[in-house]
Amino acid sequence: MSLIPFAPSRPLSIGVELELQLLSCNDYNLVSSAPDILRQIAKHNHPGKVKPEITRSMIEINTSVQYGYGALVNELRSLRDTVTNAGHFLNLAIAGGGTHPFQHWSEQKIYDAPRFNYLSDLYGYLAKQFTVFGQHVHIGCSGPDEALYLMHKLSHYIPHFIALSAASPFVQGHDTGFSSTRLNSVLTFPMSGRAPFVLNWEDFEQFFDRMVSTGVVKSMKDFYWDIRPQPEFGTIEIRVCDTPLTIEIAAAIACYIQTMSSYIMTKQSAEPEEDDYLVYTFNRFQACRFGLEGVFIDPLTNKQRSLREDITNMLTSIADHTKELQAEEAMECIREILAEGNGASWLRKTYEREHHLNNVMQQQADLWMGN
C-alpha cells in the first residue's frame, strides 16, 4: 500500500482534536462508559465529531476545519456543551488534563473496534497504559513539500507547545515532579519520536513505502511521531500537547501554533538541517520535566533560556501575524499562562489546597464542563 496523495487544504487552516476523560461522579475515578456517552451524543445534532478512543474511559472530540480563534472557540464550546449534557444525563463527569491522577491502567477496558483490538493484541499492556489524554492540532499546508518544511521548522518549538499545555503531573496516585508525564507513555511505543529528516515528498513517499514493505506499518496512523504529515487532510498534525484543562486554552494553543506557522512560512530563514535535532530530545525532556521553567537551548546559537522567556520573545516576533490572523485574544490567553502557570501548576495548587486527588479531579471536571 503506497502513501495517499497529499490533499489540498487552505494554508494555515486549523483543526483541533481533544481526548477527554470520562469520570464517575461518585469518586471521580475513570469509568468505562464511552459506548454509553457516544450513543447518547449520537441522538443529537452537533458540530464536529465525537469519536471513541483506545480505552472505554476516553472519548475524542474533533472540530471541523477552522481559521480564526473566535470560530474555533465557539465550535469547541458547542462540542463541550454537547458532551457535558450527555454526561449529566448519564451521571458522568468529563474533564481535560493529560493523565488521570489515580486511575490504574489494568482497570481500563479496550474499546471494542477492530483497530483498537488490533493495537491491544500488538502492544499488550501498553495499549491500556495509553489511557492518556492529548490535544492534536492540524495545520493546513499549501503542498506536501511545504508541509515537510513546516514540520521540521516547527519541531524546533515542540517544547513551547509541551510547556504551555502541560497538565499531567500526577500518575497512579502520586506527584511525579513532571509537568507533562503523558509523553512518557507515548515514548514507550516503537514508532514514536520524530519524523525522519526528509525534505521533499518524493523522498518521504519512498521512506513510507520502505517502511510498509518491512511490514512495520500499514498507514500514517501507525507513526506516533510528535509531528506527522497527514496527507489525507493536507495537514501536519502536532501531537505533543496534553489536553488542556479548558477548551479556551486548547483553542489558544492551537492558534499559537497557527500563528507561529504563519511566521515560519513567511520568514526568510535557512533550510532545516539534521543538526537542528541535536538538542531536540533534551529540550523536549526539559519541557516535560520542568514546564515553563524548563531550559530551552537554541541549536543555531547554543543560547540557553527558560521556556517562559523564549515563548515571551516569540510572542513579540509573531505580533504582526497575530494581528493578521486576528488571534489577539488567543495570545492574551498564552500570556496569562506564562504569568499564572500552566495546567500542571493549577493541578498542584489545587492538590495543596484539597489534599485529596479525588477532589482535585472533581474540580478539574467542573472547570472543564464550565460548571
Binding site: 461522579c25 461518585n26 468505562s32 462508559s33 448519564l90 451521571n91 479525588n358
Partner: protein, 402 residues
C-alpha cells in the same frame, strides 16, 4: 472412684453459640470455594451454609432466637442501607427523568401484577397489597455486596444501586399502607390509616437527616481512621435502629435516608472501604449466614404453584418496563436485559417486612406468609448469581488480565 470435676461430663453441654461460630467458619470457607472454583459470589456460600446446616436443611444447627437474629440482621442491613444511600446520587433523577419513570413503572408494574395474581388466588385485598408491596423490593444488601465484590462500575451498576434504593423506599411505604388497611379491615378507624404512613415517612426521614448531619460532623473532625470511624458508625447505626423501633418508625427507611441525605449534601467526593471496613464485612457474613439459618421453606411444597408464579410474574413485571424505556433512558438493549435480570434478588428487607406482617397477623404468617418466605429464600439464593451475571453481561466487571 468419682468422676473428676476437671474433666467434662458426657454428653458435653455446649453453648449454642458454638454451632453458630462453626457455621460462620464453614460459610466463609464455602464462600471462598465458590469464588475460586465456580466464580460465584461469596454470599451464595454464606447463605447456603446457613440454609444447609439450619432448620430448613440438615437441622444440625438449632433455630436462632428471633431477637438475636434480628439484632444481627438489622445492624448489618443498617450498614448496607447506609452504604447504598451514600452511593446513590438523587440529582441524577433530575438530569435524567427517564430513570425515575423506569423505576416508577417497574415498581408499579410489579405491585399491580402481584396484586392481580393474588386476587386471582382469592387473597383478601389488603393482604394481597402487603405481599405486592414486599415484591417491589430489590435486595439492597445483595446489590451493595455483589457490586462491591465484583468491582463493577458503569451505567447498569449505578442504575441498579439507584433503583434498589428507590424500590426499598416504595416497598416500605406501600407495605405500611397495606398493613394499615389490613388493620382497617380488622375495624380500625380510617384517620389512622392516613396518619400512620405519614408519621412513618416524616419521622424516618427526620431521623435519617439527623443521623446524616451528625455523621458528617463527626466524620469531618475524626477523619478516615478506619477503626475509630467504623466503631462510631456502627454505634450510630445501632442507636438509630433502636430509636426507630422505639418510635415505631422504619429503621430501613431511616438508614437509607441517612445515606441518601449524606450523599446529597456532600460537596466533595468521598469514598469509603466496602461495608466501611472489615468489621462491617464480618457483619455482612453474619447476616447472610443468619438469613440462611432463618430460611423457611416449609410452605414450598404446599404452595409450589403460587411460589413459582410469584417469581415468574415478578420477574416479567420488572424486566419489561426496563426494556421498554431503555433507549429513552440512555442504555442499550443488552444493558437493559442485564439491569432487568439483576433487579431480581430479594433478601433481608423483604424478610423483615414479611416477618413484621406475620407478627401483626398470625394467620398471614401461617399461610400466605410461608409462600412468600419460600420466594424470598429462592431469590436470595439465586439473586447474587443473577446480579453477577447481569454485571458481567453488561461488561461492567473488570477484565481478566492476560
Amino acid at each position: 472412684m468419682t468422676w473428676p470435676t476437671y474433666i467434662p461430663q458426657w454428653p458435653l453441654s455446649v453453648s449454642p453459640a458454638l454451632w453458630f461460630a462453626l457455621a460462620l467458619v464453614i460459610a466463609v470457607l464455602l464462600g471462598e470455594g465458590l469464588v475460586r472454583y465456580l466464580k460465584l459470589p461469596r454470599i451464595v456460600g454464606y447463605f447456603c451454609t446457613g440454609l444447609l446446616l439450619g432448620p430448613a436443611g440438615l437441622g444440625l444447627i438449632p433455630e436462632l432466637p428471633a431477637i438475636e437474629w434480628r439484632l444481627v440482621v438489622e445492624l448489618a442491613l443498617g450498614i448496607l442501607l447506609f452504604e447504598l444511600g451514600s452511593k446513590v446520587n438523587l440529582r441524577w433523577l433530575k438530569a435524567n427523568p427517564w430513570i425515575a419513570y423506569t423505576s416508577l413503572l417497574e415498581a408499579g408494574a410489579t405491585f399491580a401484577a402481584i396484586f392481580g395474581l393474588l386476587i386471582w388466588f382469592d387473597v383478601a385485598d389488603a393482604t394481597a397489597a402487603a405481599v405486592a408491596a414486599i415484591a417491589i423490593t430489590t435486595s439492597p444488601a445483595i446489590m451493595v455486596r455483589t457490586v462491591a465484590e465484583s468491582r463493577a462500575q458503569g451505567q447498569v451498576t449505578e442504575r441498579l444501586l439507584l433503583m434498589a434504593a428507590l424500590n426499598c423506599i416504595y416497598a416500605v411505604i406501600c407495605h405500611k399502607l397495606a398493613v394499615a388497611f389490613m388493620h382497617g379491615e380488622a375495624g380500625i378507624s380510617s384517620i389512622h390509616v392516613v396518619f400512620q404512613p405519614l408519621y412513618l415517612i416524616v419521622g424516618s426521614v427526620l431521623l435519617g437527616w439527623l443521623f446524616g448531619v451528625t455523621f458528617e460532623r463527626i466524620h469531618r473532625h475524626l477523619g478516615q481512621h478506619e477503626e475509630t470511624f467504623s466503631f462510631i458508625l456502627f454505634g450510630m447505626i445501632t442507636i438509630a435502629t433502636i430509636v426507630a423501633s422505639t418510635l415505631m418508625l422504619s429503621p430501613i427507611l431511616a438508614l437509607l435516608a441517612a445515606g441518601l441525605i449524606t450523599r446529597y449534601r456532600r460537596q466533595r467526593p468521598q469514598t469509603f472501604p466496602a461495608h466501611f471496613g472489615s468489621a462491617g464485612a464480618v457483619l455482612v457474613v453474619l447476616m447472610f449466614t443468619a438469613n440462611g439459618l432463618a430460611a423457611d421453606l416449609s410452605g414450598l411444597r404446599e404452595n409450589i404453584l403460587l411460589v413459582l408464579l410469584l417469581i415468574i410474574i415478578r420477574a416479567i413485571a420488572k424486566l419489561l418496563p426496563v426494556l421498554a424505556l431503555a433507549s429513552y433512558s440512555g442504555i442499550g438493549l443488552r444493558q437493559a436485559m442485564a439491569l432487568g435480570i439483576a433487579l431480581m434478588p430479594m433478601s433481608s428487607v423483604a424478610l423483615l417486612l414479611t416477618l413484621d406482617t406475620g407478627i401483626a397477623f398470625p394467620t398471614f404468617g401461617a399461610g400466605l406468609g410461608l409462600a412468600l418466605m419460600s420466594c424470598i429464600v429462592i431469590l436470595e439464593l439465586t439473586g447474587p448469581i443473577l446480579v453477577q451475571l447481569g454485571l458481567r453481561w453488561a461488561k461492567e466487571t473488570p477484565e481478566k488480565i492476560a
